[in-house]
Symmetry: C2
Subunit: 331 residues, 2 copies
Amino acid sequence: MASLQEVARRAKVSIATVSRVLNKSDKVVAGTRAAVERALRELDYRPSRVARRLRKKDGRAHLVGLIIPDIQNPFYAELARGMEDAAYASEYALLLCNSDENIEKERFYLGVMQAESVDGIVLPPLSETDAAVEEVMATGMPVVCVDRSLSRARTDLVEVDNYRGAYEAVTHLLDKGHRRIGLIEGRSQVSTNRERRRGYADALAAAGLGSREELIRAGDFRQESGRLLAGELLDMKRPPTALFVLNNLMTVGALAAIHQRQLRVPQDIAVVGFDDLPWAESLDPPLTVVRQPAYDVGRQAMELLLRRIMEAGRPPVTVRLLPQLIARRST
Amino acid sequence: MASLQEVARRAKVSIATVSRVLNKSDKVVAGTRAAVERALRELDYRPSRVARRLRKKDGRAHLVGLIIPDIQNPFYAELARGMEDAAYASEYALLLCNSDENIEKERFYLGVMQAESVDGIVLPPLSETDAAVEEVMATGMPVVCVDRSLSRARTDLVEVDNYRGAYEAVTHLLDKGHRRIGLIEGRSQVSTNRERRRGYADALAAAGLGSREELIRAGDFRQESGRLLAGELLDMKRPPTALFVLNNLMTVGALAAIHQRQLRVPQDIAVVGFDDLPWAESLDPPLTVVRQPAYDVGRQAMELLLRRIMEAGRPPVTVRLLPQLIARRST
DNA sequence: TAAATTGCTGTAAACGATTACAAGAACGTT
DNA sequence: AACGTTCTTGTAATCGTTTACAGCAATTTA
């Protein structure tokens, strides 16, 4: 790879001059500029982002980080895609890591990102009191939370109105006549899970029903836990007539448990899932879901991050997006 | 962030000594070492990967790149996951980018990776004659191809026996009595697509059947093209009795087209898809697929890359993994 | 006891960029 | 003609590391 040195030598100027024509900042007389540009072209010069990042401070690295809990979850894939598109449009590269909902991995990758001097980080915190994230923020690193929020720290945040989504989903089930509605939740340390659960409880309460502990099961957002917990619920002496499952992967797992028991949906058991899936339409039966605008969450997070990088002092803002109940045939 | 300078000052030694205890390489007497280690701890020192990378050459950055065509495709998500796990196990970070099957984006990200001085790159080339990839390889950058191969360049490669997978899938359909088997292929420039198509044609030929052009449609690997092309095939005067779809997303699209026309699977139309899906079991009906070991492809690619980084001169190897036909109820 | 060897540590030069400052040329002003 | 500007370019410091080399003290050898 050609370096500034080599270009300078070929163009018979100093490296400072070459750097100036590259950064289009200072004045360089036309003749010199042309000579430099020719050398640049002839050597196919590409600046080293590494060297550049070492020298420049704050927001000029054109590199941002995204840490997602599970790359195999279509919700996060869509979110990543939205962020990626926004980043690419601004010529930022994305350092994408997968924490696997694992605090050690998150810590490792946060460390990597700091050590890589990224301009900023986007992530859904692993819990509402994610100390690792708080520590990174304390160093002055721009951080934007997506999907999930932090309880202690004030950050830029792009979230979805989870409470409302859950409330509507349960109300929908209630309207269909269901009274025993099972809940399969995920990790209770995360804010989205709590909001959704609150929406579930309030919707039941508004219908004059209490939420019954025996109909609630807590999992870990993974497909397998959805399958297991749905199984437990279905095998009860008096099983629920409907299931509300708090994320997409657990919903798929619940469906597997249902099919395994040869139950009919929605006659024997109705199902509503949180998060849409690109193939929800082709599931058996087409799945009723609360759709989250994941792509927009990612896109707006990147935009917020860009603004925070440009202007570190600005007060944090929260963008709240609306989910949408899509009634298909599982209810 | 504390730098070597600050640590050195606090421990009252030179930066060289600090660097030495960090790299455990040279001899440092116990007392000095202890003092340095204390300073390191007190200042919570973390080395700058950027500075380190600038100084060191070749394979010490502990950063590798992965460029995937579509992060929303579960096959690539699984592959990425396999690679990520292997990378994490060796304490490598992953720079993950999404090319969107777009040559411009791929070029952009290849440039970023070179400029970031990654230790190596893993990717499925966008076509068999992907010039951008060849150019990067020519600079000496370690490159491992996954899934898809390059026709001109010799690289390390982890691939799946696509020919065999397709051959078995079509044979399976033939065994079920189908004679008019439609094919929905993806981008014909990519090696996997060609191999799969060759498997399709050969399986038909082995049964004494020619492949008929009117039953073949070419798409772009995306869900929407699967839906459209399946629609075309289904709306023919004499439609095929079975569909073989060359990737997962197009299969999901094809399923949508089938459901839209209220056809029964497999009675009216049988379907086999290439690539498994975590929820293939819960589709309507459970989908017969050719399963690829995507996780292993990713994992082995990372291992190959590591070996190539360590030993640049070694001859390229090809690892060929076997796909597996999983007969469910769509055939 | 002087010389040679060994062991530990410090000095300084990279890596490849950016940028403050200096310097020289060209120009205008008085 | 002398001086002050302005414009363009070069010199050198810097970012945070690694590492070749030098230097010094302690130890071994003659």
